[in-house]
Protein backbone atom coordinates (compact mmCIF):
# COMPACT_ATOMS: atom_id res chain seq x y z
CA UNK A 1 0.00 0.00 0.00
CA UNK A 2 2.73 2.43 0.98
CA UNK A 3 4.52 1.44 -2.18
CA UNK A 4 1.57 2.49 -4.32
CA UNK A 5 1.29 5.82 -2.53
CA UNK A 6 5.00 6.51 -3.04
CA UNK A 7 4.68 5.61 -6.72
CA UNK A 8 1.73 7.94 -7.20
CA UNK A 9 3.67 10.81 -5.68
CA UNK A 10 6.50 10.52 -8.18
CA UNK A 11 6.33 13.04 -11.00
CA UNK A 12 5.47 11.60 -14.38
CA UNK A 13 4.97 12.74 -17.96
CA UNK A 14 1.53 12.62 -19.53
CA UNK A 15 1.75 10.49 -22.68
CA UNK A 16 -0.09 11.75 -25.78
CA UNK A 17 -3.05 9.55 -26.75
CA UNK A 18 -5.56 9.03 -29.53
CA UNK A 19 -9.01 7.71 -28.64
CA UNK A 20 -11.51 6.50 -31.23
CA UNK A 21 -14.94 5.14 -30.61
CA UNK A 22 -16.94 2.93 -32.93
CA UNK A 23 -20.17 0.99 -32.48
CA UNK A 24 -18.44 -1.98 -30.83
CA UNK A 25 -16.03 -0.24 -28.49
CA UNK A 26 -13.20 2.18 -27.87
CA UNK A 27 -9.64 2.03 -29.21
CA UNK A 28 -6.90 3.92 -27.40
CA UNK A 29 -3.34 4.50 -28.63
CA UNK A 30 -0.69 5.89 -26.28
CA UNK A 31 2.88 6.90 -27.07
CA UNK A 32 5.27 5.47 -24.47
CA UNK A 33 8.69 5.58 -26.12
CA UNK A 34 11.55 4.04 -24.17
CA UNK A 35 9.33 1.79 -22.06
CA UNK A 36 10.18 -1.92 -22.33
CA UNK A 37 7.29 -4.41 -22.22
CA UNK A 38 8.05 -5.52 -18.67
CA UNK A 39 8.00 -1.94 -17.35
CA UNK A 40 4.53 -1.20 -18.67
CA UNK A 41 1.76 -1.35 -16.09
CA UNK A 42 -1.95 -1.27 -16.92
CA UNK A 43 -4.42 -1.10 -14.07
CA UNK A 44 -8.18 -1.24 -13.99
CA UNK A 45 -9.63 -0.27 -10.66
CA UNK A 46 -13.38 0.17 -10.49
CA UNK A 47 -14.00 2.52 -13.43
CA UNK A 48 -10.48 3.99 -13.64
CA UNK A 49 -7.95 2.86 -16.19
CA UNK A 50 -4.35 3.82 -15.38
CA UNK A 51 -1.48 3.49 -17.82
CA UNK A 52 1.96 3.69 -16.28
CA UNK A 53 5.38 3.01 -17.77
CA UNK A 54 8.96 3.41 -16.75
CA UNK A 55 11.58 4.52 -19.27
CA UNK A 56 14.69 2.36 -19.57
CA UNK A 57 17.41 3.53 -21.97
CA UNK A 58 20.90 2.10 -22.51
CA UNK A 59 22.89 4.94 -21.09
CA UNK A 60 26.66 4.54 -21.04
CA UNK A 61 28.32 4.93 -17.66
CA UNK A 62 29.27 8.45 -16.70
CA UNK A 63 27.14 10.18 -19.33
CA UNK A 64 26.36 13.85 -18.75
CA UNK A 65 23.05 15.06 -20.16
CA UNK A 66 23.53 18.17 -22.26
CA UNK A 67 20.03 18.61 -23.65
CA UNK A 68 16.85 16.91 -22.47
CA UNK A 69 13.36 17.25 -23.88
CA UNK A 70 12.21 14.09 -22.14
CA UNK A 71 13.02 15.01 -18.58
CA UNK A 72 11.30 12.38 -16.46
CA UNK A 73 11.74 8.60 -16.50
CA UNK A 74 8.04 7.79 -16.10
CA UNK A 75 4.71 8.15 -17.89
CA UNK A 76 1.33 8.07 -16.20
CA UNK A 77 -2.19 8.80 -17.33
CA UNK A 78 -5.62 7.83 -16.03
CA UNK A 79 -8.99 7.68 -17.70
CA UNK A 80 -12.45 7.24 -16.27
CA UNK A 81 -14.40 4.58 -18.13
CA UNK A 82 -18.12 4.70 -18.58
CA UNK A 83 -20.46 1.90 -17.52
CA UNK A 84 -21.24 0.51 -20.95
CA UNK A 85 -17.61 -0.55 -21.46
CA UNK A 86 -16.76 -4.16 -20.70
CA UNK A 87 -13.60 -3.90 -18.60
CA UNK A 88 -13.31 -7.67 -18.44
CA UNK A 89 -12.52 -7.89 -22.15
CA UNK A 90 -9.80 -5.28 -22.58
CA UNK A 91 -7.05 -6.35 -24.96
CA UNK A 92 -3.63 -4.69 -25.25
CA UNK A 93 -0.78 -4.67 -27.74
CA UNK A 94 2.55 -2.91 -27.23
CA UNK A 95 4.89 -2.40 -30.17
CA UNK A 96 7.77 0.04 -30.77
CA UNK A 97 6.65 2.14 -27.80
CA UNK A 98 3.02 2.43 -28.89
CA UNK A 99 0.31 0.92 -26.70
CA UNK A 100 -2.95 -0.07 -28.37
CA UNK A 101 -5.89 -0.82 -26.09
CA UNK A 102 -9.22 -2.10 -27.23
CA UNK A 103 -12.12 -1.80 -24.79
CA UNK A 104 -15.29 -3.42 -26.15
CA UNK A 105 -18.76 -2.32 -25.18
CA UNK A 106 -20.87 -4.69 -23.13
CA UNK A 107 -23.41 -6.78 -25.01
CA UNK A 108 -26.40 -4.85 -23.70
CA UNK A 109 -24.84 -1.58 -24.80
CA UNK A 110 -24.30 -2.65 -28.43
CA UNK A 111 -26.23 -0.51 -30.87
CA UNK A 112 -29.82 -1.36 -31.68
CA UNK A 113 -31.91 0.30 -34.24
CA UNK A 114 -34.97 1.79 -32.65
CA UNK A 115 -38.15 1.28 -34.54
CA UNK A 116 -40.25 4.33 -34.99
CA UNK A 117 -43.91 3.52 -35.00
CA UNK A 118 -46.12 5.71 -37.05
CA UNK A 119 -49.59 6.02 -35.67
Amino acid sequence: MNDTVAKQAEAAMIPPVDVFEDAAGITLYADLPGVPKDKLDLQLEADTLTIEGEVALDVPEGMDATHAEVGLPRYRRSFTLSRELDTGKVSAEFNHGVLKLRIPKAEHAQPRKIEIKVA
Binding site: V19, F20, I26, L32, P33, G34, A65, V70, G97, V98
Partner: protein
Amino acid sequence: MMARTLFPRDLFAELDRLQRGMQQRIDMTPSIRGLGRDGFPAINVGGTPQSVELYAFAPGVDPASLDVQVEKGVLTIAGERKPDTPQPDAKATPHIEERFAGRFRRVVSLPDDVDAAAIEARYRNGVLHISIPRQQAAQSRRIQIQSGDQP
Protein backbone atom coordinates in the same frame (compact mmCIF):
# COMPACT_ATOMS: atom_id res chain seq x y z
CA MET B 1 0.64 40.28 -16.52
CA MET B 2 -2.65 40.07 -18.39
CA ALA B 3 -2.11 41.61 -21.79
CA ARG B 4 -4.77 43.50 -23.64
CA THR B 5 -6.02 41.05 -26.18
CA LEU B 6 -8.42 41.27 -29.05
CA PHE B 7 -10.77 38.82 -27.37
CA PRO B 8 -10.16 39.28 -23.65
CA ARG B 9 -12.45 36.44 -22.69
CA ASP B 10 -10.28 33.82 -24.38
CA LEU B 11 -8.62 32.62 -21.20
CA PHE B 12 -6.99 29.56 -22.76
CA ALA B 13 -5.19 31.57 -25.43
CA GLU B 14 -3.94 33.86 -22.69
CA LEU B 15 -2.69 30.92 -20.61
CA ASP B 16 -0.95 29.50 -23.66
CA ARG B 17 0.74 32.83 -24.32
CA LEU B 18 1.88 33.09 -20.69
CA GLN B 19 3.23 29.56 -20.76
CA ARG B 20 5.22 30.19 -23.94
CA GLY B 21 6.53 33.41 -22.50
CA MET B 22 7.77 31.56 -19.44
CA GLN B 23 9.27 28.78 -21.54
CA GLN B 24 11.24 31.36 -23.53
CA ARG B 25 12.64 32.77 -20.31
CA ILE B 26 13.63 29.31 -19.12
CA ASP B 27 15.38 28.43 -22.40
CA MET B 28 18.16 30.93 -22.04
CA THR B 29 19.76 30.04 -25.36
CA PRO B 30 17.13 30.10 -28.08
CA SER B 31 18.33 28.24 -31.13
CA ILE B 32 18.15 29.50 -34.71
CA ARG B 33 16.25 26.28 -35.49
CA GLY B 34 13.40 27.28 -33.22
CA LEU B 35 12.72 26.65 -29.59
CA GLY B 36 13.52 23.00 -30.03
CA ARG B 37 10.63 21.96 -27.82
CA ASP B 38 7.46 20.13 -28.72
CA GLY B 39 9.01 18.80 -31.89
CA PHE B 40 8.69 15.23 -33.05
CA PRO B 41 10.69 13.24 -32.19
CA ALA B 42 11.72 14.63 -28.80
CA ILE B 43 15.50 14.44 -28.47
CA ASN B 44 17.80 13.97 -25.50
CA VAL B 45 21.54 14.41 -25.92
CA GLY B 46 24.32 13.38 -23.61
CA GLY B 47 28.06 12.92 -23.77
CA THR B 48 30.85 10.86 -22.30
CA PRO B 49 34.57 11.42 -22.85
CA GLN B 50 34.45 8.71 -25.55
CA SER B 51 31.19 9.44 -27.35
CA VAL B 52 28.14 11.61 -27.98
CA GLU B 53 24.83 9.83 -27.31
CA LEU B 54 21.58 10.98 -28.85
CA TYR B 55 18.14 9.54 -28.06
CA ALA B 56 15.22 10.36 -30.36
CA PHE B 57 11.83 9.37 -28.91
CA ALA B 58 10.02 8.23 -32.05
CA PRO B 59 7.46 5.58 -31.12
CA GLY B 60 5.55 3.61 -33.71
CA VAL B 61 7.86 4.37 -36.61
CA ASP B 62 8.83 1.73 -39.13
CA PRO B 63 12.64 1.49 -38.65
CA ALA B 64 13.04 1.12 -42.43
CA SER B 65 11.47 4.56 -42.95
CA LEU B 66 13.99 6.27 -40.64
CA ASP B 67 16.74 8.21 -42.36
CA VAL B 68 19.78 9.34 -40.36
CA GLN B 69 22.41 11.44 -42.09
CA VAL B 70 25.49 13.38 -41.07
CA GLU B 71 26.72 16.16 -43.27
CA LYS B 72 29.14 18.97 -42.39
CA GLY B 73 28.79 18.31 -38.69
CA VAL B 74 25.00 18.36 -38.78
CA LEU B 75 22.96 15.28 -37.94
CA THR B 76 19.54 14.95 -39.55
CA ILE B 77 16.86 12.50 -38.44
CA ALA B 78 13.96 12.19 -40.87
CA GLY B 79 11.11 9.78 -41.36
CA GLU B 80 7.41 9.34 -41.46
CA ARG B 81 4.89 8.16 -38.95
CA LYS B 82 1.72 6.74 -40.40
CA PRO B 83 -1.50 7.80 -38.71
CA ASP B 84 -3.44 5.14 -36.79
CA THR B 85 -6.78 6.61 -37.78
CA PRO B 86 -9.40 3.89 -38.33
CA GLN B 87 -10.76 3.16 -41.80
CA PRO B 88 -13.51 5.60 -42.82
CA ASP B 89 -16.01 2.74 -43.18
CA ALA B 90 -15.60 1.90 -39.45
CA LYS B 91 -17.62 5.04 -38.66
CA ALA B 92 -15.37 5.82 -35.73
CA THR B 93 -15.60 9.04 -33.75
CA PRO B 94 -12.30 10.57 -32.66
CA HIS B 95 -12.50 11.78 -29.05
CA ILE B 96 -8.85 12.64 -28.38
CA GLU B 97 -6.19 13.18 -31.04
CA GLU B 98 -2.86 14.22 -29.56
CA ARG B 99 -0.35 11.91 -31.21
CA PHE B 100 1.87 13.16 -34.01
CA ALA B 101 1.39 11.76 -37.52
CA GLY B 102 3.11 12.60 -40.77
CA ARG B 103 6.59 13.38 -41.99
CA PHE B 104 9.19 14.70 -39.58
CA ARG B 105 12.74 16.00 -39.71
CA ARG B 106 14.96 17.17 -36.89
CA VAL B 107 18.45 18.60 -37.12
CA VAL B 108 21.15 18.61 -34.45
CA SER B 109 24.60 20.17 -34.80
CA LEU B 110 27.36 17.90 -33.55
CA PRO B 111 30.53 18.84 -31.71
CA ASP B 112 33.71 19.12 -33.83
CA ASP B 113 35.54 16.19 -32.28
CA VAL B 114 33.17 13.38 -33.33
CA ASP B 115 34.03 10.64 -35.81
CA ALA B 116 31.01 10.68 -38.13
CA ALA B 117 32.25 7.60 -40.00
CA ALA B 118 31.77 5.41 -36.92
CA ILE B 119 28.19 6.42 -36.12
CA GLU B 120 25.89 3.67 -34.83
CA ALA B 121 22.09 3.74 -34.68
CA ARG B 122 19.66 1.33 -33.02
CA TYR B 123 15.87 1.45 -32.75
CA ARG B 124 14.42 -0.19 -29.65
CA ASN B 125 11.14 0.29 -27.73
CA GLY B 126 10.34 3.29 -29.92
CA VAL B 127 13.60 5.11 -29.20
CA LEU B 128 16.27 5.71 -31.83
CA HIS B 129 19.62 5.66 -30.03
CA ILE B 130 22.49 7.17 -32.01
CA SER B 131 25.99 6.77 -30.66
CA ILE B 132 28.82 8.75 -32.22
CA PRO B 133 32.35 8.12 -30.95
CA ARG B 134 34.73 11.00 -30.46
CA GLN B 135 37.96 11.00 -32.45
CA GLN B 136 40.78 9.19 -30.71
CA ALA B 137 43.11 12.20 -30.88
CA ALA B 138 40.59 14.42 -29.16
CA GLN B 139 40.14 12.13 -26.15
CA SER B 140 41.95 13.26 -23.07
CA ARG B 141 45.04 11.26 -22.19
CA ARG B 142 47.02 11.16 -19.05
CA ILE B 143 50.53 12.32 -19.77
CA GLN B 144 53.35 10.54 -18.06
CA ILE B 145 55.75 12.90 -16.37
CA GLN B 146 59.29 11.75 -16.71
CA SER B 147 61.67 12.34 -13.96
CA GLY B 148 64.69 14.44 -14.89
CA ASP B 149 66.77 13.25 -11.97
CA GLN B 150 69.87 11.40 -12.98
CA PRO B 151 70.24 8.11 -11.19
